[in-house]
Amino acid sequence: MRGWEKVGSSRSNLGRAGSTVTTNRITSTVRLGRVEPQAPGHRNIFCNDREANFLVRFKGNSISTTKYNVLTFLPKGLFEQFRRVANLYFLTISILSTTPISPVSPITNVVPLSLVLLVSLIKEAFEDWKRFQNDMAINNASIDVLQGQKWVEIPWKKLQVGDIVKVKQDGFFPADLLFLASTNADGVCYIETANLDGETNLKIRKALEKTWDYLTPDKASEFKGEIQCEQPNNSLYTFTGNLIIQKQTIPLTPNQVLLRNFVLSVMLEKRMPRALEYCNGEKGCSLRNTEYIVGAVIFTGHETKVMMNSMNVPSKRSTLERKLDKLILTLFGALFLMCLIGAIGSAIFINRKYFYLGLTADVEDQFNPNNRFMVFILTFLTLITLYSTIIPISLYVSIEMIKFIQSTQFINKDLHMYHAETNTPASARTSNLNEELGQVEYIFSDKTGTLTRNLMEFFKCSIGGEVYGTGLTEIERGAAQRSGGNVGKAQKSPGLIHEKGFNFDDARLMCGAWRNEPNPDTCKEFFRCLAICHTVLPEGEESPEKITYQAASPDEAALVTAAKIFGFFFYRRTPTMVHVRESHVEKMGKVEDMSYEILNVLEFNSTRKRQSVVCRYPNGRIVLYCKGADTVIYERLADVGNELKNITREHLEQFGSAGLRTLCLAYRDLSSSLYESWNEKFIQAKSSLRDREKKVDEVAELIEKELTLIGCTAIEDKLQEGVPSCIETLSRAGIKIWVLTGDKMETAINIAYACSLINNDMKQFIISSETNEIRDAEDRGDQVEVARIIKDSVKKDLKKYLEEAQHYLRTVSGPKLALIIDGKCLMYALDPSLRAMLLNLSLNCTSVVCCRVSPLQKAQVASLVKKGARKITLSIGDGANDVSMIQAAHVGVGISGLEGMQAVMASDFAIAQFRFLSDLLLVHGRWSYHRICKVITYFFYKNLTFTLTQFWFNFQTGFSGQRFYDDWFQSLYNVIFTALPVVILGLFDKDVSAKLSKMYPELYKEGIRNAFFKKRVVGIWAFFSFYQSLVFYYFVSTSSSTSQNSGKMFGLWDVSTMAFTCAVVTVNLRLLLMCNSITKWHYVSVGGSILAWFLFIFVYSGFLIPRDQNNEFFVIYVLMSTIYFYLTLLLVPIAALFGDFVFQGVQRWFFPYDYQIVQEIHRHEPEHSSRMELLEIGPPLTPDEARSYAIAQLPREKSRHTGFAFDSPGYESFFASQAGVYVPQKAWDVARRASMMRSRPKLPPKS
């Protein structure tokens, strides 16, 4: 270390100088874990000089994510196990049972405890072994390292700080590297970080110019630089350091740093299996488009930035398990009570008069009648060990096993949750929360990527009062299906053009056929408007096939694409001109290049809700084309032709309620004099220094009037497959779905419509910050004032709406309620003073839409409901912005299969599609909940029953704490004789089939109500435990007080063996009685358990006589030779189960659960019908039939919602703005961007 200190101190000032040069750019977009304060000092690395670095002893590059090694496994593993209260409790009991106060031999408690520990330790060892193998595979992956003058392949783990390495195309970075040289010109390389931040675009890293040359081995071997850099830390986006090369100090920036593969490391960190296979797929975070690069190793192994980012995701426990803790506590209470009763009894009982007990003067304390208090204390301890079976020791390990199998075998392998297109199966990333899935009441969903595909498609339009487009939206299809119709996939007409952004099918407009429509001129205007009025940039070759459109919003791109396909191909933009290749001319096939001079662009903003372009035709005609929200356009229409307006409005409503996003198109012919006079005002406004925006808007108003309506467009914000029907199913299941999105309000509302979250029957409460009052305040710019105004208005709104909501709730058939709130208002509504009101209001609403919310707010909303309402919540999302929400909710679900692993990494379950939620919740969740409830109650029952027989017995032994059963019986009861069937129950019990679970989503409500693990349910079980234990004890003890047929009498151990046999048989049969479905495994396990008991007792009482105890010797043989044995064995279990059976019969008959009714309804249906049937599609209707049918299903009443939504520039990257990189975009920036495009370096072709 001395060497390091010396070097360190002499160079420290240089290092500091370097750090000031480097910009400390911290992006908050992706931050894993907390960023720790940087360690003082820095490290000096001598590149390509192992001896020099040797002094410093940097850590090696091998990583280890294992928890244990051979030596630490046992102590550490055991320590982990004993952190569980139940295990610790049994350890205490085991220790107690080695003392003389114990009525049982240590075996009784040690055996089950060791078995439980053994199972857990084997599991741990197995998992750790898998991690070890993963580590080994990674550590042994090979990398080219410069040794001497050539590249030598060495395993990753041998890599050392300062080494020069070569990373080839698609290779992974073995450590954090300083980027020196690349085969690309300009010393750049491209890396893919999709897994880190979900961004699909390649990132560019640029090497320092000084080092570009060190590419070939002989050149690189000359490289003798020295790197001074920060100590290893976990901040992914910062890097501070200097490169000292040829006595020059050059500052280094994050731009020259290549981070060790992210996914691999994080997956390992999160102890995910199959990390390697995953990375070998196409999702790596690796070098792209570059033949190879050369880099110097700066941080290795565990010191790499990603490895230092250990994501300590707090492990979640299910609500049921927390309730289970309460039950266990209650059991402890019962245990205490039983011991107390016994101990008091014992202290009273003990007396010298029982001379046969030999209570002489020097008797030990426990039986000393002279010191009854001591008797009390010691008997209390005795009884604790005796009754310890009341705490089900194997419960936790059984549940763990069941859940593990449930998640790995059932959820992960469910074919119904396998998404073929992305080749992604569902994945349960934790097995803790299976049953939580069965109780979810609130779902918080992200919009983009989760509900929608973020794909805008031109879907329908209305031109001059005529609707074009035959497609059916998901919502129409869903509505049709719900009302019983069978709408297959609409058949597409032949020759249908389908490309990105265009999903339109109507032969009347395609291939120039619009010329034969009633009003071809309107069509022409419509298409021109689409082709001219926009801010899109064309990119690439100027042919219809090759061109790509760069648009600020996908809506715009979709509209321009539509124009292209209709024959108005926009192919070039210059700062003043828009070039359109039109094929409209009378002769077929003739194409004409038209160029329109763009005179003005009147930009889109959320106030104007419209966008206009003034253009001059080559023939001098000046036209203003305008597109925008129907409300603003209609206000500005010329006062003629009401009929068209009304028809178009009807169409708008129709589109809107079908979930489509609409825009109205209009134009106005301008005379040149009118235009000139207006333009002067416009230029003046634009060049004004104060309130420019406002003035521009005002001037725009002057010309945007007396418009002529052309028609409207309907764009489908393409939903993920099956979203509306899934949402409909989920809401029938009593689950409330909240959409939390960064989008603006119109879009969010529109999607809510499209997903059938909101419909026209609902009363909508809108809390928006887009009111005039607030806007005025914002214009004034006083932030304190703005905050006050918003807060007041939010408060006012909340109060008003809450009153209204309560009013509606009181009425019998009031409308359903929906709350729509935007991020700014939410910020104030989440204020502690208003939070309660917000919660109250939102819980009364069927749907809640929060728009323009930040990731933090998403998490706040989730925890508001989670903590405030104590409801079980689920968050689903796909992006890095959903991570906080996913972690805040009880259950986090990530959408996998797409790019971006952030959400998945933070999630508890990963599914490929939103619609799989219905399978995940209604099928797996519901079943898991049912099963775990049954497992817990059964464990409770069987242990209580067993322990209570001991308790009753103690009343007749002078409260001495004498054990009723043999030690081995007691120790094996839990782990052998009754262990397996309950696991089978937990795995296979199925109340209704998966198909019915989805057919009757309402069944899920039983889980939300927690119908199967309530105090009442547990109370009933306790009652029957009580009853059964009394039956076991009194029936057996009373009936055995007589002689057998040979005149001999039964002793204690004969009676207890009889009672134990009855108990084992009964408890196992009771399990069968509670099963909803009985497979062969049930028979095998139940039969096997009973058989195991008999085998055990035959062997135990026949041959194996433990040294100390031969109480049981030959007992079973004598017992079984008497008729008494068989009479009792028939009588006792039936008498014991009699009560349960009557209860079940009566309960089912008179107070049935819903699932029982459903069982009855579908009783005679074959069980084997697979869920596949649901997916079957009947004979499809023709498109026309389908459309007319679907339209017939739409609500008749006039809709207020017309579906306007348009993602204008500036909102598009709302999330980016949250990260602080918001740059307001102006429509006229388009031209500037166009010119920038040209100068940007072209990506090198893929090799």
Partner: protein, 345 residues
């Protein structure tokens, strides 16, 4: 080398992520659905009734066939002047000088076929007390080599420095009342005291070459003494006694009378009332009983069978009545909770 840079094998098969179908993982194992329908309930109850009532009647009649004579004697066998107080009783029983013989006469109510089992019954005697139960050394009983293996026997483990065989409270408190019988004045009845213990006890638990030693030599005599010439495997009374009873009221086999006893025979029992149950208010009885296939007199099983069977019949009848009278809720979707009470949602 399966490193991340060699991206060959893993991604070769693009369909590898599709889970394989199996009935197990798709949770489509064939299963039967046991639905507790009214019909099933009625059927099950009827069947149980049909099986249980005959069984109950058979057991009960078998139990009734058993002739049992029981006579409680612990008070009567104490001279009247000593009966007044508990202390007087104890004094009497502990006085080795007092004459403890006593005669009881029993009348045979019905013909009793041999073997007629003679039992003694103790009440309020906690043979199942923990201190008592564990005060035994199985090793010592089994093998002579473990003679000193008496740690579990405290306080009756050793006397005068030598181990007691058999040690422990159970052996120490061995019952020592003796009975002899004469029928109809002076026809003596022999009591066969062999084969009253469990065969397994005789052959395995109690050693053939383990002889009583130092037994009942202490200042306090708990009960019977043992002939030190007979090995433990021959001490059948001891074996019977040491098979500790489950309940505080218990009977133990004393012997067998192997002649017929006619109705109205008068049996004279001359007994030696030496066992102290007075200090803890215990009771002592002598019981003569025959046994048949079901064993001794035991009404409980029969009554329990008949009761359960009868309740089953009764419930079956009730359910049938309700089933016919009241339409079943089952199978009717309108009873589903969400159809009956539409919530606010």
């Amino acid at each position: 080398m399966a490193g991340p840079s060699s991206a060959a094998a893993g991604s070769a098969d693009r369909n590898s992520n599709r889970p394989k179908y199996s009935q197990f993982s798709q949770q489509e194992l064939s299963a039967c659905q046991p639905i507790v329908t009214p019909k099933l309930v009625i059927t099950v109850f009827t069947v149980i009734g049909i099986i249980f009532i005959p069984l109950g009647i058979a057991s009960l009649s078998a139990s009734n066939d058993v002739v049992e004579i029981s006579d409680r004697y612990e008070t009567e066998c104490i001279p009247a002047e000593n009966r007044t107080t508990k202390d007087a009783k104890i004094q009497f029983i502990q006085n080795s000088q007092s004459d403890k013989t006593c005669t009881r006469s029993l009348t045979v109510p019905k013909h009793m076929k041999p073997p007629i089992y003679v039992y003694y019954q103790l009440d309020n005697y906690y043979q199942n007390h923990r201190r008592y139960v564990k005060s035994i050394s199985d090793q010592q009983l089994r093998s002579p080599g473990s003679e000193n293996d008496t740690s579990s026997c405290k306080p009756e483990n050793e006397e005068n420095g030598a181990s007691i065989v058999p040690c422990g409270l159970i052996a120490w408190s061995l019952f020592n009342d003796t009975y002899s019988f004469t029928r109809n004045n002076n026809v003596s009845l022999t009591v066969n005291k062999t084969d009253i213990s469990w065969k397994s006890d005789r052959e395995h638990k109690f050693g053939k070459d383990v002889y009583p030693k130092n037994f009942q030599n202490g200042s306090l005599i708990g009960g019977a003494t043992l002939k030190s010439s007979i090995p433990l495997s021959g001490q059948e009374d001891l074996m019977v006694w040491m098979r500790t009873a489950a309940m505080p009221t218990f009977r133990k086999l004393y012997g067998r009378i192997e002649v017929d006893l006619q109705a109205n025979d008068v049996i004279e029992v001359s007994l030696n009332n030496t066992y102290n149950v007075y200090s803890f208010n215990g009771k002592k009885s002598i019981v003569l009983s025959t046994a048949n296939w079901i064993g001794g007199k035991n009404d409980f099983l029969g009554v329990a069978y008949i009761t359960v069977g009868a309740i089953c019949f009764f419930l079956a009848a009730c359910f049938t009545y309700i089933y016919l009278k009241k339409p079943s809720r089952l199978q009717d979707p309108s009873y589903l909770t969400w159809n009956t009470n539409p919530g606010p949602l």
